[in-house]
């Protein structure tokens, strides 16, 4: 197998046995990025020099390749996470030249583990979007079909993993932004329980929903990376002080006897029949592995889109108020006074989708409308969360599709924002409830050969369960070995 195709745990085996050097691995990826990324547009900022410097420290013995489970591993990191001294744009012109003076906690944890960062990846602006078409800098291509989107908002991270432009990546998920691009790109993507991974240094979109998680070539890698980034952080007041289980140890237990719930509201008219067929086949595979399959109901599923697109924009309108041209970011200087500075800088710096969400958010929080919209949506959120808690009394995890369709064509959904929102129907509820979810490749559409992901949702803090199911399923199939033939 070629070096760039290897999963993190396989690379680690080679590095540990000194069969390959850290420099060889980093250089391999950097060369591949140079050759393919001009067409794929996964990366916004490269960290090639730093990467080779770090690799050299390992190879010369100044840093110890045996010191930690991720030492010498080259990862890509979504450009919404602060990296000290390295430009962090969030896919926005308003932060085009922003250089964070500190590392986010996850970046710090990964650096301490010896991870080598290859670069910052492209994303929909401020994580608002499902395709990368809202990035102010580039549209990332789906490595499986360059005319199609890779999904979003963790677009560059998912595409880079699929195209072997990194060994693995970090993404973020607020309404599905790890799970959906992972599904569209045929890779693994995990959104942890809310509070499992520190948000310190994660540029905030929706504070009650945002989570950082791994996007990887196989499930074992997701477990490995989650192990390093999960855990309590006093710098994030929403971080939960619960012990982190051994996720790798959890993988190997067979799933015989586990109860897997199939939510009937996740199989709807209007779904692509080839997506449904791949997911139903995956369910049968799990049943063949000895799991007990039960039908469950999540009756408030159909209200998830409406609730989310009130709550998330509301939180975003508050979080994005800080972009005012005062302390950092774009400042338009022809303003005579401060308020005009705010208006000009924000209007010039933000893209249309961001403006739209700020507008909706501001409206639903404004006097006279708060009860009708934000409070109502928060009550519906309680009902959605309750649906999951009820379902988890009947099963250990839920199996569902990730999206109703496979990767769509670039430009196909950009005219109608509401249509784009509706395609998040299967990922939003889990975000609202705060439960963990993973997308694992489960097949391809027959006509277009586009990847399809199986979504596994678990109770709060049961990443061990969903990783176990995902791993057992993956090992019973060959999808994680399949790679796109990239035609730049």
């Amino acid at each position: 197998m070629e070096l760039q195709s290897l999963a993190v745990h396989q690379l680690r085996d080679l590095l540990a046995r000194r069969e390959v050097s850290a420099t060889e691995v980093a250089a391999c990826y950097l060369e591949r990025i140079e050759a393919l990324d001009p067409a794929l547009r996964c990366y916004l900022t490269m960290m090639g020099e730093e990467a080779l410097r770090e690799a050299a420290l390992f190879d010369s013995g100044k840093k110890d390749l045996d010191a930690s489970p991720l030492a010498g591993v080259p990862l890509a990191i979504k450009d919404v996470i602060c990296t000290r001294g390295i430009r962090t744009t969030c896919g926005s012109r308003i932060l085009e030249n922003f250089i964070p003076p500190y590392d986010g906690t996850v970046a710090e944890l990964l650096r301490k583990s010896g991870v080598i960062f290859l670069g910052k990846t492209n994303m929909d602006e401020f994580a608002m979007g499902s395709s990368s078409e809202n990035s102010s800098f580039a549209v990332t291509r789906n490595p499986w079909d360059m005319e199609r989107v890779p999904g979003g908002s963790s677009s560059g991270s998912a595409a880079a993993v699929a195209a072997d432009l990194c060994a693995g990546a970090l993404g973020t998920d607020t309404g599905g932004s790890i799970r959906q691009p992972a599904s569209f790109c045929g890779v693994v993507g995990l959104k942890p329980t809310y509070g499992r991974v520190s948000r310190f240094g994660l540029v905030a979109f929706a504070s009650s929903l945002d989570q950082i998680g791994p996007i990887t070539k196989d499930v074992e890698d997701a477990a490995l990376i989650l192990q390093t980034i999960a855990g309590y952080d006093r710098r994030d007041s929403t971080s939960v002080d619960l012990p982190v289980p051994d996720y790798q140890a959890a993988l190997d237990a067979p799933i015989k006897g586990l109860r897997l719930g199939i939510p009937k509201e996740y199989f709807i008219d209007g779904m692509d029949p080839e997506v449904e067929s791949a997911v139903r086949q995956a369910i049968r595979t799990c049943a063949d592995l000895g799991a007990e399959v039960v039908e469950v109901s999540l009756p408030h599923t159909e209200y998830g889109v409406a609730a989310y697109y009130i709550i998330a924009p509301a939180e975003a309108s508050s979080n994005l108020a800080r972009y005012d041209g005062v302390k950092y970011g774009l400042r338009i200087t022809d303003a005579r006074d401060l308020i005009t500075t705010y208006r000009l800088s924000r209007s010039k710096g933000f893209g249309p989708e961001v403006k739209r969400r700020i507008m909706i958010g501001t409206y639903v929080l404004s006097a006279g409308y708060y009860d009708a919209y934000y409070k109502k949506a928060s009550q519906v959120r309680t009902l959605i969360r309750r649906d999951f808690l009820n379902a988890f009394e009947k099963c250990d995890a839920l199996l569902a599709p990730v999206a109703p369709v496979p990767a769509f064509k670039i430009g196909e959904k950009t005219d109608d924002p509401l249509q784009m929102y509706l395609s998040d129907v299967f990922t939003l509820p889990a975000s609202l409830a705060g439960i963990p979810g993973i997308s694992v490749p489960c097949g391809f559409t027959t006509s277009e050969k586009l990847p399809v992901g199986l979504q596994i949702l678990g109770p709060h803090f049961r990443e061990d369960t969903i990783l176990r199911i995902a791993h057992q399923f993956e090992q019973a199939t060959l999808f994680h070995h399949m790679k796109p033939e990239i035609k730049p």
């Binding site: 809310y194 929903l209 950092y328 303003a335 006074d337 500075t341 507008m359 409206y363 928060s378 009902l383």
Partner: protein, 96 residues
């Protein structure tokens, strides 16, 4: 479908959000917001009278720390991205 938000209201919201919208943007925004807000009416199908609003995904109480000064970001670093600074503060155009 009845209009949920008028063009005038859109202008008011834009002002609250400190956004300048061109005529064309304002027209498009009005149309799109009406579309989106119209869809939100769906939530009125649900009786939520007895339901507590959810503000937090997990059960956490207020997280406090001791009111003690601890080292923070170095001033130079804090000013490093400033569009304009005098070395001590962020410099901005006059307020009024």
């Amino acid at each position: 479908m009845t209009e949920k938000i008028s063009r005038q209201e859109v202008r008011h919201v834009a002002n609250l959000a400190r956004l300048d919208l061109s005529d064309a943007e304002e027209a498009r925004m009005t149309e799109q917001m009406n579309d989106i807000l119209g869809y939100m009416d769906k939530l009125n199908e649900l009786d939520t009278g007895a339901v507590t609003a959810m503000t937090h995904a997990i059960q956490l109480q207020n997280v406090f720390r001791q009111d003690e000064a601890v080292p923070s970001l170095d001033r130079e670093l804090a000013l490093a991205n400033a569009p304009q600074s005098d070395g001590a503060s962020f410099v901005v155009p006059k307020i009024i």
